[in-house]
């Protein structure tokens, strides 16, 4: 956690485009739709072979595009914690073929298989999305959503949120440092929870004041009652290539599953 905060606002940075990277010229809209379709198709898969194939493709993609370098592999942690939890609990849920039984606890084969399949599927999806969206700025994702028909208020909400994440993380970091130098160590007690509550409240108060200043700044630049987007570049041949490849992969997975 502390290093997430110390690298204030670095989420964007770790997604920043770098030169010579193969998905660079592909439009964020195309990539977003591809990520969505990939999630859909893999979600619908159920045979072990296809899932392994999907995961394999995602891994190859990650290797090819370098999507797992830097700190991005950390994004696989939350989902795998969930999978671990299921791996622990599903086999205990009963099933036809016990593989092990200790006293009242029976470990069932079905549950074990189910958990493993979920693990494969989850990792394939997370990794695939990571590859497809890697090094996209959150800001570009916001714009992409805007041009895909998401209401302007919602995309602006997203863009403003992204814009001020770093500012807030720095504010949070400074307040936390101030608490630290006054000897604060989180523990399991009322004092700790109250202090965190105050910290959150103070962040909110400062945020509201900042939001008011932002609105003032917007008004000073002629903002009246709506946002006018500055539109983005058109789709290119690279998008066509990219779409073709993604479609091919998805078709392959579908055929493998149902043929």
């Amino acid at each position: 956690m502390s290093n997430v905060i110390e690298n204030a606002g670095s989420y964007g940075a770790s997604l920043a485009p770098t030169n010579g990277w193969c998905l660079n010229g592909v439009d964020p809209r195309t990539r977003l739709i591809a990520a969505f379709c990939f999630s859909m198709v893999v979600t619908a898969l159920s045979s072990p072979t296809t899932l392994v194939a999907a995961l394999g493709i995602a891994v190859v993609g990650a290797g090819w595009t370098g999507a797992l370098t830097e700190q991005r592999w950390k994004r696989l942690i939350p989902i795998n914690l969930l999978v671990l939890l299921l791996l622990g609990l599903l086999p205990l849920g009963g099933g036809a073929t016990p593989v092990l039984s200790i006293g009242p606890i029976t470990v069932a084969r079905e549950g074990l298989v189910q958990a493993v399949l979920i693990g494969l599927k989850a990792n394939a999806i997370v990794l695939g999305v990571l590859v497809l969206l890697a090094r996209l700025e959150m800001a570009s994702i916001g714009h992409a959503l805007g041009t895909l028909g998401v209401p302007a208020k919602l995309t602006h909400l997203l863009l403003f949120t992204v814009r001020y994440l770093g500012v807030l993380q720095r504010e949070y970091g400074r307040l936390r440092a101030a608490m630290k130098v006054r000897g604060f160590r989180p523990g399991v007690d009322w004092h700790t929870y109250r202090s965190f509550g105050y910290l959150v409240g103070m962040l909110l108060l400062r945020s509201v004041d900042r939001a008011d200043r932002i609105v003032m700044a917007m008004k000073c630049r002629g903002f009246y009652d709506r946002f006018h987007p500055l539109d983005r570049a058109a789709l290119t041949a690279r998008d066509a290539w990219f779409t073709a490849i993604v479609l091919l992969v998805l078709a392959g997975l579908t055929v493998l599953e149902w043929a």
């Binding site: 606002g9 964007g12 940075a13 920043a16 700025e137 800001a139 916001g142 714009h143 863009l159 403003f160 992204v162 814009r163 770093g166 500012v167 900042r210 200043r213 932002i214 003032m216 700044a217 917007m218 008004k219 000073c220 630049r221 002629g222 903002f223 009246y224 006018h228 500055l230 539109d231």
Partner: protein
């Protein structure tokens, strides 16, 4: 009294009734003037600037801009297109994700087409010596870059008057010098609220000090700077 570009006529203001910030404060800005606005922290410099663009409405007194009495939000909407305001904290001002969008925000609000807006953006950025900044992400700029981009966003509206709230605060020497150089080249009438002696040397040609809620003239020219420093240190 000949009307200046901006006239504050005996305006009073308080955020909090028992601590008035401005008391029957008068101010006039004429064409070609570059006024330096001095004053200790909390003396009300930002308040004066906000009053001029109608972000705060005076408790009493009148605000007259470009010869027109301004009272309502509607009056000020027109004013804000012709008076550019650079905020004290650039993070409040750069709210769009990319530099191009931020700079285009004003022109688009003024009804310019996207094409025109894009041209204005590239013209303004190159004027300030920020070429190829269009697609930079605003929250990743350094402090000095943020200041210059915020200034570009203000200039993109082609304002006739500039209000600059501490344009060099929090910048290191090199960045501050860059801002000063840019300001020197600009043709507009300006009001610059500042503590910074670097600014008083050259862009500014008239000095006012805000104290006790009123504006008083500070002796002019070279003397002013000496005087300012005398005041900083008893």
């Amino acid at each position: 009294m000949k009307d200046g570009l901006v006239v504050l006529d005996e305006v009073s203001y308080s955020y909090n009734p028992d601590r008035p910030v401005l008391r029957r404060c008068c101010f006039q800005l004429d064409a070609d003037e570059r006024v330096g606005l001095l004053g200790t922290n909390g003396s009300g410099k930002t308040t004066v600037l906000k009053m001029i663009v109608g972000l705060l409405k005076p408790d009493s007194g009148r605000v007259r801009i470009f010869g027109k009495l301004c009272r309502t939000e509607r009056d000020f909407r027109e004013v804000r297109r012709r008076v550019g305001f650079l905020f004290q904290d650039s993070d409040d001002q750069l709210f769009c994700p990319t530099v191009a969008e931020d700079v285009a925000f004003g022109p688009l609000n003024m009804g310019k087409s996207r094409e025109e807006a894009r041209q204005i953006v590239s013209r303004t950025l190159s004027l300030l010596g920020l070429p190829r900044f269009e697609d930079r992400i605003t929250y990743k700029l350094s402090g000095g870059e943020k200041r210059l981009v915020a200034l570009a966003a203000v200039l993109a509206m082609q304002p006739e008057v500039l209000l600059l709230d501490e344009p060099t605060a929090g910048l290191d020497d090199a960045a501050a010098q860059r801002v000063v150089d840019v300001l020197e080249e600009l043709p507009q009438a300006m009001v610059i609220a500042t503590h910074d002696p670097r600014l008083l040397d050259s862009p500014v040609n008239r000095l006012l000090r805000l104290s006790g809620g009123r504006l008083v003239a500070e002796s002019d020219g070279d003397g002013a700077i000496g005087h300012l420093q005398l005041q900083t240190k008893p």
